[in-house]
């Protein structure tokens, strides 16, 4: 075997190569070839992909059909947006929309967010804490399958309605926008926009690495076991609820971080970004990419967002039909997602599946998930 062949067949060095390739693409090729606008769009897709990474863990690996990730995404996004609004208003200042629609006084629960360090911490802590509380409440009572999905979706609906109703303190349907700076950096400067892209790309790579470690660890094995045979895991002496809560909370934290970065990149967050429809949208990318794989959710989320944008640019009045057709095709012919194409291709070449690599596509473990989550 030549060095190159060894590099390509050794699973660990393949992962390493994959990371290196992704890093080169994101940090060198993309900034060099894309306009500021396109790079900013890609940064937005990467933020959505962060949510997808978490869903891949919770749904693909843990079998929890999380139909309400918009809540955690929204919490992260609104916390960041509130901090940026307060920072723009200056010390002791009042955000512009509160002067217009509210009493002109910053409510007490906004005040802590003036502190940038606290804001960054809360972006992670609030979604995680909420997920732990909800997770304990649901998984301890053995709520799962469709019931869990319905509960999480109802939560997303309630969250969006709550935001709409609080015109004076959350901006209502308008949401929060018009941010001028991000921790002191001018957001209209293209150099700073590129910096935001790098931050998003770096964060996403770290998340993928973390999820990979989680998947390969004992915890990852247990999570898959809980997904496929929860009772057997319980009989072995483990507490499935704890395992699921950890995966659910990790997914929530990733959604929160994705939301927090989404705000400075896109420049706006509104209830339309956190309700039921976007929550399902997150899931579609994951499903199309291949939910049980490591990279499927990321690539799926980016691909779906990219297709959405370019289709709507090409066919502004008919793009939604193309998008629908795309979903139908994938669901009908590639139930394991686009990642299953890779494993089919690998099988056709009759190479034995790499033992260390995460199972891709239509592995036997796939079947029960479909039945349970439907």
């Amino acid at each position: 075997m030549t060095f190159l062949q060894r590099l390509l067949t050794n699973p660990r060095s393949r992962v390493l190569l994959g990371f290196a390739l992704a890093a080169v693409l994101l940090f060198a090729v993309a900034p060099a070839t894309m306009s500021t606008f396109r790079l900013n769009l890609l940064a937005k897709f990467l933020c959505l992909a962060m949510v997808a990474v978490g869903i891949g863990l919770a749904w693909g690996r843990g079998g929890m059909l999380t139909l309400g990730q918009g809540v955690f995404f929204g919490l992260g996004a609104y916390i960041m947006a509130m901090h940026l609004k307060l920072a723009d208003a200056g010390p002791g200042g009042v955000p512009d929309f509160m002067m217009l629609y509210g009493s002109g006084v910053v409510p007490a629960w906004w005040e802590p967010l003036r502190n940038p360090v606290l804001a960054v911490l809360l972006v992670v802590l609030v979604p995680t804490a909420l997920a732990v509380v909800l997770g304990l409440a649901m998984f301890r009572r053995r709520v799962r399958g469709a019931y869990f999905a319905i509960l999480s979706q109802a939560l997303a609906a309630a969250f969006a309605i709550l935001l709409v109703g609080q015109q004076a303190t959350t901006g209502g349907t308008n949401g929060l926008n018009g941010f001028r700076s991000f921790f002191g950096f001018d957001l209209t400067d293209p150099v700073n926009k590129r910096m935001l892209f790098f931050i998003a790309a770096g964060t996403l790579l770290v998340m993928v690495a973390v999820v990979r470690q989680l998947m390969l660890s004992r915890f990852g094995e247990l999570l898959v076991a809980v997904r496929d045979q929860e009772n057997r895991v319980r009989f072995l002496g483990y507490d499935p609820a704890t395992i699921k809560v950890v995966a659910y909370a990790a997914a929530a934290a990733m959604a929160g971080i994705g939301g927090a970065l989404f705000v400075p990149v896109v420049g706006i967050v509104s209830p339309a970004d956190v309700g039921v429809v976007p929550s399902i949208g997150f899931l579609i990318g994951v499903a199309i990419g291949g939910r049980a794989t490591l990279l499927g959710p990321v690539l799926g989320a980016v691909a779906v967002s990219w297709a959405q944008t370019s289709l709507s640019e090409q066919f502004p009045s008919g793009w939604i039909y193309f998008q629908g057709a795309l979903f139908v095709l994938v669901v009908a012919f590639l139930p394991g997602g686009l990642a299953s194409l890779v494993s089919r291709w690998a099988r056709r070449r009759s190479a034995p599946p790499a033992p260390g690599a995460p199972a891709a596509g239509l592995a036997p473990e796939e079947a029960p998930v479909v039945g349970r989550s439907a």
Binding site: V15, G175, D186, M195, A209, G267, P316
Partner: protein
């Protein structure tokens, strides 16, 4: 093993650091909080024999049914202008984008139309949320937006031209009309979002100053269709009139329930500010016949300009189509932009802003004039009654165009609103 794992993590991190070092840091905002303006220079290309303009309407999602009509009307104006020789001798090239009824999409597509497509001006938007989402984008890039829908006022941006009515051209005249008719009490019904809430704040202030009692203020979520509770409250309150700021589908349910409860235009008229010709058909003529609306344009306006507009529209899109206020305001907005460009003899944003004041257009609604200070336009207020033909007929008119006053500075009772 351990080393390769460590490398797996170190590699992206190293690349990140490298990239950060290479890219350096951008401008920091100064301590006072003001941002250093670093908007990219305009990329609009006016050297050829055509110039690009952007149309940004929701062609999908809940607002598509309304915004598609505005989109059609904008295209009609562009086609007419092109057939007539274009603007400063250049043909207009349309770049259309779908706002998808989501504020975030509006912001993204606006950015694309300005920085990627290099359009000279953008026309579109409907909901207040979509306008608020686009405002910082147009201000940061120093570009122009023409917004064609009546709205809640309390806003004025140098980068937006508002060709729909502001509150003193629609809501205030409607209240004047009700007062003139002898109404001493009103009931407010609206959808729960920024326009109805702000409108009702203004109505409350007006009512207090004019001795009109507000007997109730009820909000329903957007898209809400169960109005039995609200209609019961309206009926029990027994006000002289109802002021309706509901939007979209909710109107269908509200007016059906209103009729079922035995209420009608004679006993308790409803004045609506979001129901135009397009919506009457959807609600059902039998449910809204005789009710009142407040706008600045109706299809029934008797003028040569309107006859031409309605005929051209029907010829282009079919005999069964109707024309409404936002459509007319959108149609006028393209011609107003043309007027500004021709007066300025330039497509540059700064030149247009300077030339805008006093530009007029003989619109289907009558002659409209741009206010150079607040970028709104002077419009005539019309109270209409919905007829059995499904069209709206002018019942009362302000007689002459009302100067736009988005912050209601000319009204003593409105002090403290903005």
């Amino acid at each position: 093993m351990a080393t390769s794992r460590a490398t797996a993590r170190a590699l992206p991190a190293a690349t990140l650091v490298l990239a950060l070092v290479l890219s350096g840091c951008g401008a920091r905002t100064d301590a006072s909080g003001g941002s250093a303006s670093s908007a990219a220079a305009s990329c609009v290309d006016v050297s050829g024999d055509s110039v690009k303009i952007g149309l940004l309407n929701s062609l999908s999602g809940t607002m598509a049914i309304s915004e598609q009509t505005v989109h059609d009307s904008l295209r009609l104006a562009v086609a007419e202008i092109n057939a007539d020789g274009g603007v400063l001798g250049k043909q207009l090239e349309v770049v259309a984008e779908d706002g998808a009824s989501e504020p975030t999409t509006f912001a993204e597509k606006a950015e694309k139309l300005i920085t990627d497509d290099c359009t000279a001006a953008v026309f579109g938007g409907w909901t207040s949320a979509s306008r608020k989402a686009m405002l910082p984008v147009f201000e940061n890039n120093d570009a122009l937006l023409f917004y064609p829908v009546q709205y809640e006022g309390l806003e004025s941006s140098p980068n937006i031209f508002y060709t729909g009515a502001t509150t003193n051209q629609q809501i205030v005249p409607a209240l004047d009309y009700l007062k003139e008719q002898g109404a001493t009490s009103i009931f407010l019904v609206g959808s729960d979002y920024v326009f109805p809430r702000t409108a009702n704040k203004i109505i409350n202030a007006y009512a207090e100053a004019n001795g009109i009692e507000v007997l109730g203020e009820e909000y329903a979520p957007l898209g809400h269709t169960d109005f039995s509770t609200i209609v019961n409250k309206v009926k029990a309150a027994g006000a002289d009139a109802v002021f309706n700021t509901l939007n979209g589908d909710s109107n269908v349910a509200f007016f059906k329930e209103y009729k079922n409860a035995g209420l009608g235009p004679d006993a308790m008229p409803v004045v609506s500010v979001s129901i135009a010709e397009e919506e009457v058909g959807g609600i059902g003529i039998e449910n809204v016949e005789g009710q009142l609306t407040a706008w600045n344009y109706y299809q029934t306006i008797d003028s040569p300009e309107n006859t031409t507009f309605v005929e051209a529209f029907k010829a282009e899109y079919g005999d069964d189509r109707v024309t409404s206020d936002p459509m007319e305001a959108a149609y006028a907005s393209v011609y107003l932009w043309k007027g500004m460009v021709e007066k300025a003899k330039s497509f540059a944003v700064g030149d247009i802003q300077e030339a805008a004041g006093g530009v007029t257009f003989d619109a289907p609604e009558g002659t409209v004039t741009v206010d150079g200070e607040n970028h709104h336009i002077a419009k005539t207020a019309l109270i209409g009654k919905i007829g059995p033909d499904g069209l709206i007929h002018t019942e009362w008119s302000s007689g002459e165009p009302i100067e736009p006053d988005p912050f209601l500075t000319g009204y003593d009772w409105a002090e403290g609103l903005s």
